[in-house]
């Protein structure tokens, strides 16, 4: 574009035609996402062409291979230095390949892999008519309680479509924290949200509740998306570009050349503030921060538990990644405008999540509110606006996602005649009947509560330290107080499991296949390793703490 054109009276400088070239795609650097998307497409083809009997195995195989390969690609990129020295922006400015992106993509892929194990579990539900079934509806399209549903169950159908859906969701999540322009951000948001809405509706038991949850999630999610999109439009009006880098330059006032067509609106702070607020709102909806949290308990409760676990872990990772990038890349110049608001959101999220959780009587709802409180703790790290803040959030997310998937995997094991026994009163005396399961769940609860020697403590310490160093000492004090409140309800569950008399008609603990066992074992291992020897992972997170712009 540096062509110095000679202009006559009748011509004026215009962008040379050469600008509309073939897009340059760095396939290598985008390989993690491409592998997952490719595998998802293959999954769809499997649905179409592979005989029903072998679909399950084919789907699980494709998904496992894809996630492992994508993770290997992330590791290879990181080893190649793309996380630090070679960090760059790929795909024509749409996607950033840098430390935070690679770290979060690695986390999402591993969490997705562990979640996949719980998706593929087929030993928990009693076999229907001699066919092993998983947690998903026999045929999603059949009306609950109808004859066609019975026929589908009798025929031994299973919704193997969940595997490609899971892969599509993961693909969207991989792009979300790496998106480097607002449109990519929005597309990624939709790519991972739509499969999630669908998967929420697929529960095999309590189907009406599951469909209700999906509708709620979809409606509220659609609203949030609309807000985000509107915010994007306003930000475009403000900066004349959807690219993070350009917007940041406009915010800082260092933009080299202004498009005359946009000169009137460019730099209008009202557009910037309202636009940024709307976009951030959409992201806060996804992380489940108060006051955008209303969907969380209902959706967590209604969705099939494996989906809940995946959603609670991976969505949070992806959305916090995107939030970090947005706030740290576009808005550092606006720090003093967004910080007070985020302070308020963090405070009510921590306190609100912890206080409301106390009154819950359903284990899935309890974990939902606990996830809200945790979103507040993570926000405290986001607010630090320092390199330590980024790395502490990355570390927290990595630890938290495995605890969450593990905890929900344990929830799938405790069952009675109606499926999973999620009412808390049914968990009484679980420690007497199945000490091992109860002990494992206690480890997860202690990690949620942030007791030392678990990953929860290391993570909480890291974000609070970053927040305190960033001048947010009151936030730390409130965080500590809400941790104390939160500890109360985690402990209540432990009391119930270990110190209450078992009920005679209480639930049984199903013996899972090695798949769920592996998911739980990975959860416990990560929780303890990150608790006792977090140094390696803290280093990793701290190396990954710099965004490319």
């Amino acid at each position: 574009m540096s062509t110095a054109a000679v202009h006559s009276l009748w011509t004026t400088a215009s962008d040379p035609i050469a600008k509309i070239g073939a897009p340059k795609i760095e396939y290598g650097q985008l390989s993690p996402t491409l592998i997952v998307v490719g595998a998802a497409v293959v999954g769809v083809l499997v649905e179409a062409f592979v005989p029903r009997k072998s679909r399950y195995y084919a789907q699980v195989f494709v998904a496992v291979v894809a996630l492992c390969a994508a993770f290997a690609a992330v590791v290879a990129l990181a080893a190649d230095g793309y996380g630090t020295t070679k960090a760059r922006i790929a795909a024509m400015g749409a996607i950033a390949v840098d430390g935070p992106a690679l770290f979060l993509q690695g986390t999402i892929l591993l969490a997705g892999l562990v979640a996949l194990f719980t998706f593929a579990e087929r030993r928990l539900d009693p076999a229907a008519h001699g066919n092993r079934v998983d947690s998903f509806a026999a045929q999603a399209a059949s009306v609950p309680g109808s004859d066609s549903e019975k026929a589908a169950v009798k025929a031994g159908f299973t919704t193997t479509e969940v595997f490609p859906l899971l892969l599509f969701a993961i693909a969207g999540m991989l792009i979300f924290p790496a998106a480097n322009d607002l449109l990519t951000l929005f597309v990624a948001l939709e790519v991972f949200s739509l499969p999630l809405y669908l998967m929420c509706a697929l529960a095999r038991r309590k189907r009406l509740m599951s469909q209700e949850a999906a509708v709620k999630y979809f409606l509220l999610g659609a609203f949030a998306s609309a807000f985000t999109l509107f915010g994007i439009a306003l930000l475009y009006g403000y900066a004349g570009s959807v690219s993070y880098g350009t917007i940041a330059q406009v915010v800082e006032g260092t933009i080299p050349n202004v498009d005359p067509a946009l000169a009137d609106t460019m730099g209008n702070d009202a557009l910037l503030l309202i636009g940024a607020a709307l976009v951030v709102m959409g992201l806060l909806f996804k992380v489940g921060a108060i006051p955008f949290h209303m969907w969380t308990p209902d959706v967590y409760q209604g969705a099939p538990t494996p989906v809940t676990g995946f959603m609670a872990a991976a969505t949070k990772v992806a959305a916090f990644g995107a939030l970090l990038r947005l706030l740290y890349v576009i808005l550092p110049g606006l720090r003093w405008d967004w910080r007070p608001v985020m302070w308020a959101v963090a405070i009510i999220t921590m306190l609100g999540g912890a206080i409301v959780a106390i009154t819950q009587t359903d284990i899935k709802r309890l974990l939902a509110y606990s996830s809200i409180a945790h979103a507040g703790f993570i926000l405290a790290g986001v607010i630090a606006t320092s390199k330590d803040g980024v790395s502490s959030v990355l570390f927290y997310l990595a630890g938290y996602s495995f605890v969450t998937i593990g905890a929900f995997a344990v929830v799938t094991l405790v069952r009675d005649a109606g499926g999973e026994a999620t009412h808390l009163s049914k968990w009484a005396g679980l420690g007497r009947r199945s000490p091992l399961v109860a002990a494992v769940f206690a480890v997860f609860l202690l990690a949620f509560a942030g007791i030392p020697l678990t990953s929860g403590f290391a993570g909480k310490f890291a974000v609070f330290k970053a927040a305190a160093e960033g001048g947010a000492a009151p936030l730390v004090v409130i965080g500590v107080i809400s941790s104390a409140i939160a500890a109360f309800f985690y402990i209540r569950v432990i009391v119930l499991m270990f110190f209450s008399e078992p009920r005679p008609e209480g639930p049984t603990v199903a013996v899972p296949s090695p798949l769920t066992m592996a998911a739980i074992a990975v959860g416990v291992a990560v929780t303890l390793v990150l608790g006792v020897a977090p140094q390696y992972f803290l280093d990793l997170a701290s190396q990954a703490g710099v965004f490319v712009r």
Binding site: S434, P435, F461, A468, S500
Partner: protein, 523 residues
């Protein structure tokens, strides 16, 4: 590289805990013996530490230092001064007795699920607590200390909530409810204390940039680390609050009577004689050394709270109907003395306080364990259910009496020396407080002697007539403790020799000197 003695003392019981927990359900007795052997081996290591420790040598000895979490500025740093050595030895000494005294406490009544192994769990948890307590006495890194200070709550919580006395006045259902209430109360009080301390720990890091006790103390002494007065006070309060809950100091004490009342006697001893000592120890080691100015600033209030603890604890002990709760309130009174001694800021007061921690551990263990034997025979904790026991079980009554006399600080028994030192130390600086504190001793005589009189003397109650005297196992538990009480009462020098240099150091950290003895008339 020399053998990491301090680490070994903590790792041994930790490994023992895992091994004990892994013993199969059918081999219950093997688990008990394993736990006992591990605790004895730990005691042997503690004795080696005691021998290797040179009271006249460097301040922190047998030090170990390794990189741990460099991202947080945390190092794995261990080292003991005289105070730490005394308390490590006390812990290692008491655990075998606790294990032996609780020999049958966790035998399952009925065979439940094959995987349900309460006995293994009970002894594993005791060893886990031992490991964590020992490492917190040894840690010279604030973060390392904090981790184990908090983590020890979890095994302690399961010990209180999971195991209780067999018999209960209101039946098994009520017992179970009260037990889990006590456990939750214990955990919540201490967790809240610990979390507030967490905020202060983070604050300390923001101010100092690392967690090494020695480095921070040194930097503060030579002026390279400046702390604003208000910052220092806030941080001090954060630390002190956690330690005051743990110690416990009035008005944060209310969890202790519940916890000690509902737990089995050996676990009650573990709480008051071992775990709570971490609180008073940490006041000496962390509050005074890290925040000397703030400590002096807070002294008047803390002294008054300690005084209230002494008198209030003793008064409530007089009014108790329940033997175990009585001992709990007596302990609150004694912790008042310990805290009084620490914050009187005199060397007699602080050596007295340290000595008090050791002696209180031994004397409470003796009294409480004998009380536990008594309760297990009759199946009731109420004082009114007993009477005339000394005619039926003279040895039990005799040992109970000695334990009780130790609790009231009879001269010739160990606690007298420490209580005397604390009172002298307090009196030289704060005569009025010293005088009021003396009333605590009078009340102590009242509650102990009345307890003895009501349970052991008088006409033999019909339910007590068939009560067997102490068995061999129980004698093995009680006899050494009583011998120690008498020995340290007559000849406390071995302990004071170890403790005194460390106390002098602490005094100089707080920039305090003993007030000159002066006679009023000479002025």
């Amino acid at each position: 590289m020399s053998f990491p003695l301090l680490t070994a003392t903590a790792v041994l019981p930790a490994v023992g805990a895992i091994a004990t927990a892994a013993v199969p359900a059918a081999r219950r007795t093997a688990a008990k013996w394993l736990a006992l052997l591990v605790s004895l081996a730990t005691l042997a290591l503690a004795i080696v530490i005691l021998v290797r420790f040179d009271p006249g040598g460097a301040r922190y000895q047998l030090t170990e230092s390794h990189a741990w979490i460099s991202a947080f500025g945390v190092r794995y740093e261990l080292g003991v001064d005289g105070i730490g050595v005394a308390l490590v030895a006390l812990t290692a000494l008491l655990i075998p007795f606790i294990v032996l005294a609780g020999w049958h406490d966790a035998d399952p009544l009925e065979t439940g699920s094959k995987r349900w192994r309460p006995t293994q769990g009970f002894f594993a948890l005791i060893l886990a607590v031992e490991a964590m307590v020992i490492i917190s006495f040894e840690a010279t890194d604030v973060f390392l200390f904090y981790i184990f200070f908090e983590a020890m709550l979890i095994p302690m919580y399961f010990l209180i909530g999971g195991f209780g006395d067999r018999a209960h006045e209101h039946g098994e259902e009520a017992a179970s409810t009260q037990r889990s209430y006590a456990a939750v109360k214990f955990l919540l009080y201490n967790l809240v204390g610990g979390l507030i301390m967490l905020a202060a720990v983070i604050g300390l890091y923001v101010v100092a940039g690392n967690f090494s006790l020695q480095e921070i103390v040194q930097a503060r002494a030579n002026g390279s680390l400046h702390m604003a007065t208000s910052t220092e006070r806030w941080l001090f309060l954060g630390f002190f609050f956690a330690f005051a809950v743990k110690a416990p100091l009035w008005p944060l004490h209310t969890w202790l009577p519940n916890a000690m009342g509902e737990a089995t006697a050996p676990v009650a001893v573990l709480i008051t004689a071992v775990v709570d000592k971490v609180g008073t120890f940490a006041m000496l080691r962390f509050c005074l050394q890290l925040f000397p100015e703030a400590s002096k600033w807070a002294t008047p209030v803390i002294l008054v709270l300690a005084l209230i603890s002494i008198v209030y604890g003793a008064l409530l002990a007089v009014g108790q109907r329940d033997i175990k709760r009585l001992v709990a309130y007596a302990s609150i009174s004694h912790f008042g003395f310990i805290i009084l001694g620490i914050f009187a800021m005199t060397s007699q007061g602080q050596s007295g306080a340290t000595l008090y921690m050791v002696n209180h551990g031994i004397s409470t263990a003796a009294l409480m364990l004998v009380a536990g034997f008594l309760i297990s025979r009759r199946g009731s904790r109420l004082i009114a259910d007993y009477g005339g026991v000394q005619k039926v079980a003279p040895v039990l009554a005799g040992t109970f009496l000695i334990g009780g006399l130790a609790t009231l600080s009879l001269p010739g028994l160990a606690p007298f020396v420490s209580e005397f030192l604390v009172l002298v130390g307090t009196f030289t600086r704060y005569p009025a407080i010293g005088i009021i504190a003396t009333f605590g001793i009078v009340l102590a005589a009242l509650y102990t002697l009345v307890l003895y009189q009501r349970t052991m003397t008088g006409p033999v109650k019909p339910e007590v007539t068939a009560m067997p005297d102490l068995r061999a196992r129980e004698l093995v538990v009680v006899a050494p403790l009583i011998v120690l009480l008498i020995f340290l009462g007559v000849y406390p020098k071995p302990v004071t020799d170890i403790v005194n240099p460390a106390v002098k150091q602490t005094m100089s950290d707080v920039h305090q000197t003993d007030p000159k003895p002066e006679v009023e008339a000479a002025k």
